[in-house]
């Protein structure tokens, strides 16, 4: 039962500090689940990210569902998903009911002007360490860079690259082995 509450609490923190959507939660997930709790390895973390990208809906929920199941089965799914959603739900309701127009508050705007560039840095740091661990350094780093540019600026769907990678991986590694 300890794991149940730990999972809830970890994903509650992830839900609270995911600012700016999608991958902004990634550094928090990595710090909490890989580095601190050591529930999953860095290698597995990358595999799981591929899976949650291929599933529809909010990525934070997909991640909570997958990791919840992986760490503590069905109860883990409940704890992690509920934890990830609850902070959003409570904060948004408070704003909608009590603090309409908070997005125009000067202190609020000032805080977020500080947070936004920091969040970008927080997303970039794991890119470097993950690339080292996954042996995608040096000239091979051009692969992820090419993918990143096509997704960010040519608006190619991430799903396209995920499917392409599954096909290419089987053709390449199937033929040449390890």
């Amino acid at each position: 039962m300890k794991t149940f509450f730990e999972l809830f609490w970890v994903f509650f923190k992830i839900g609270t500090f995911t600012i700016g959507g999608g991958f902004a939660m990634l550094p928090v997930i990595r710090a909490e689940l890989v580095d601190r709790k050591k529930w999953i390895s860095e290698d597995e973390f990358l595999d799981i990210l591929a899976v949650v990208q291929s599933s529809p809906g909010p990525i934070a929920v997909n991640t909570a569902v997958f990791l919840g199941l992986r760490i503590y089965g069905f109860l883990g799914l409940i704890a992690a998903t509920f934890g990830a959603i609850l902070p959003s739900f409570v904060i948004i309701l408070m704003i909608a009911a009590l603090f309409q127009g908070i997005q125009n508050n000067p202190y609020f705007i000032a805080a977020f002007k500080g947070i936004k560039p920091a969040v970008i840095a927080l997303i970039l740091v794991p890119v470097i360490s993950l690339a080292k661990k996954a042996n995608v350094g040096g000239i091979r780093f051009l692969f992820p860079v090419g993918i990143a540019l096509s997704v960010a600026y040519a608006h190619v769907s991430p799903i396209f690259f995920i499917i392409a990678a599954m096909v290419v991986g089987n053709v390449w590694f199937g033929r040449f082995g390890k």
Partner: protein
């Protein structure tokens, strides 16, 4: 029955949006502004602004807000959020069971070998998308960026601490 309609509308949105929050916003706008007219266009713009600058995934924030705005009740928020979450839970669970069953298959292993560099690219693209003039206005924002990068990369400061500190520093610098 508005609650069921909220649930069903967000269930469809959840099921057909891939790539998280930003990808979902266009679908939400089409359904809630154009088809159902639960909120006006300018209300929708406010909802997006609030969802982006409050903690939590945009894909959860926006449905919660729209559920409240359209019904004036927490029950509306509940059904909209439940609707957008349910397809995620179902599809991800199916993927989990499938992968657990076939994880030793050479096809799955080969796929994951190629998926690693791909996912690193997708994370990098998330950072690129956020590098807008809006988020980097003035030299101070580059200092924020560099300081956060160094603190995280060199000194292993936790992301949660960095978010809190950079928010406080933002108030001091810009407030």
């Amino acid at each position: 029955m508005i609650f069921f309609e909220l649930f069903w509308t967000f269930f469809k949105i959840g099921l057909f949006s891939f790539g998280g929050g930003y990808a979902m916003l266009a679908l939400i706008q089409n359904e809630v502004v154009r088809i159902h007219q639960w909120v006006t266009n300018s209300q929708f713009a406010d909802i997006v602004a609030v969802s982006q600058v409050t903690p939590g995934p945009i894909a959860i924030n926006a449905p919660t807000y729209i559920g409240y705005q359209s019904t004036g009740t927490i029950t509306g928020s509940f059904w909209a959020t439940f609707g957008v979450t349910l397809p995620s839970v179902l599809v991800t669970t199916i993927l989990f069971v499938f992968l657990n069953r076939f994880k030793d298959s050479p096809y799955i292993k080969n796929a994951f070998k190629a998926l690693k560099p791909t996912v690193i690219g997708l994370i990098l693209s998330a950072a690129l998308v956020l590098m807008t003039p809006d988020n980097f206005s003035g030299w101070q924002s580059f200092v924020f960026f560099a300081a956060a990068f160094a603190a995280c990369y060199k000194f292993n400061v936790s992301p949660i601490t960095l978010v809190i500190v950079s928010g406080a520093a933002g108030i001091l610098v810009y407030g």
